[in-house]
Subunit: 293 residues, 2 copies
């Protein structure tokens, strides 16, 4: 059954089209309008260097002002430099920091819970799905996946892959330094229960390469030398402008983004022999950012 | 803000409890009954060795008999040994093979589409969610995540992380050799449109370490030498019994598994300050298997 000759078909041609269709980007028919991009403010950018590569995080001070404030201070204090991802469960989360949230040794202040906020008409919100399985309504607010309650009074950031949130103990206000990044199917049951304060906008493949712990041992990596390590974390605004990379993310408030959502919902391409239901999972919309010098 | 002394809290204590709660395994209160395990038939086991590590796949001949048949033959012919994952999009799929499905060069036969099958009362089905966002009903059938239509006439395997399915061109019956593994948020819009024929039961962290292609280039890795390579693929039944590892998976037909689903749906632990909605995403139930000598 092994074909003779070239074992690898040439690239391009129909091949290129196919995953475009699957991925829903550059789809046919073309979007009426392309999404526009916005630049991330340098104060909301975090460059996290691991041995595995660079991870770029966008902070969200609109939804988690106190958490972002303390996290920024810790980054500026180089608190995380040299610490590891000490609890990593494949398909769930990679948790890093000094473990102080979980013990009694830390002198870093506790942070008040920022699980959700009041809806306000000046918040942008581009609807994705109504109703969603886990919430009456999902959408994007300034690039972040979010959800609203039935009465439109509360809004929260949803636990999608790449989301960055504070770890905590049983108490709502028990976060200090430890954070996790979601690396698996969205654990949406954590929505409104954790302080989500950022999202990975580049380098998720680096996050996915973080060393896992044993599932039977709750993901804990007991040999710290074997764990993936944070070489450094820097705020974009602390990097001299001439060295700094500019980060751009899809402007989810743009008409082009709304067109993209419409296109993903319809799936009119002939690739689809069974037409999918016209629904969207807010965590399954590709949102990777771009970095430029 | 950096605490003096030990920068790393001790393990155990409350720490151990917390991610248990988050992960929903070993949860409190204890399950009435623990799920039982079933051994995977060696003929349905595939050991795929990458440089990155070992991936173990369970084949599903009940839902995709023709696909499994041809895949088994290709594995026995050592067709995949030395081939690479040539198109890998982070958060979506890792696609491997010789690319012949996408070109005109292959002598390997085409496979008829096996996108879904008729519901039959002798198929086991443990309900997870009704209705689900993408289907009237989801559940597990012999360990595989699945969904049924409203009239209970059709059943299909759902695109969850770790699912293994055949790549194809626009035509429904255009698969030959290339396959993909889902590595990101479940692309459920592909359900009933692809021949899902297996699932990764161990080694998803290895799959997640597969080298990605450039998103702008549709994930294609143009330098084949840089791609992740399949060193070998072997059927469990082709490995001498004394060398063979036995694979065990959760028996999704067991009462213990139904208890586990109930526990995950309820989330009564005091960790939850906001009680999550009593719904379950069929793709967010941890299903990793165990290997023993």
């Amino acid at each position: 059954m092994r074909p003779e000759g070239n074992r690898r078909a040439t690239y391009g041609g129909p091949a290129t089209a196919i995953l475009c269709l699957l991925f829903g980007l550059g789809a046919v028919p073309a979007l009426a309008e392309e999404p526009t991009w916005r630049q991330v403010e340098p104060a909301n950018l975090v460059f996290m260097e691991l041995l595995e590569g660079r991870v770029v995080i966008e902070l969200n001070p609109v939804f988690a002002p106190k958490t972002v404030n303390q996290f920024r201070e810790l980054v500026q204090d180089r608190f995380y430099d040299g610490l590891s991802f000490y609890r990593v469960i494949d398909g769930f989360v990679a948790q890093g920091g000094d473990g102080s949230d979980l013990g009694e040794l830390s002198e870093v202040p506790l942070i008040e819970a920022e699980f959700e906020r009041e809806w306000s008409a000046d918040l942008p919100f581009t609807v994705v799905q109504k109703p969603d399985l886990f919430a009456p309504e999902t959408g994007f607010t300034d690039g972040f996946a979010a959800a609203r309650d039935a009465r439109g009074e509360a809004i929260w950031l949803t636990h999608c892959p790449g989301v960055v949130a504070m770890a905590r103990n049983d108490g709502a206000d028990s976060s200090r330094t430890d954070f996790y990044i979601v690396i698996g199917q969205a654990p949406r049951y954590l929505d409104r229960n954790m302080s989500v304060f950022g999202r990975v906008i580049q380098g998720m493949e680096v996050v996915q390469a973080i060393r896992r712990g044993a599932p039977g041992d709750n993901g804990i990596i007991r040999d710290d030398a074997a764990a993936s390590r944070i070489r450094s974390m820097r705020l974009g605004s602390d990097i001299p402008e001439e060295e700094r990379l500019a980060a751009y993310v899809v402007d989810t408030n743009s008409d082009g983004f709304a067109d993209l959502l419409r296109d993903r919902r319809k799936r009119t391409q002939r690739f689809f022999h069974h037409r999918p239901p016209e629904v969207l999972d807010v965590c399954q919309v590709p949102m990777a950012g771009r970095l430029t010098k």
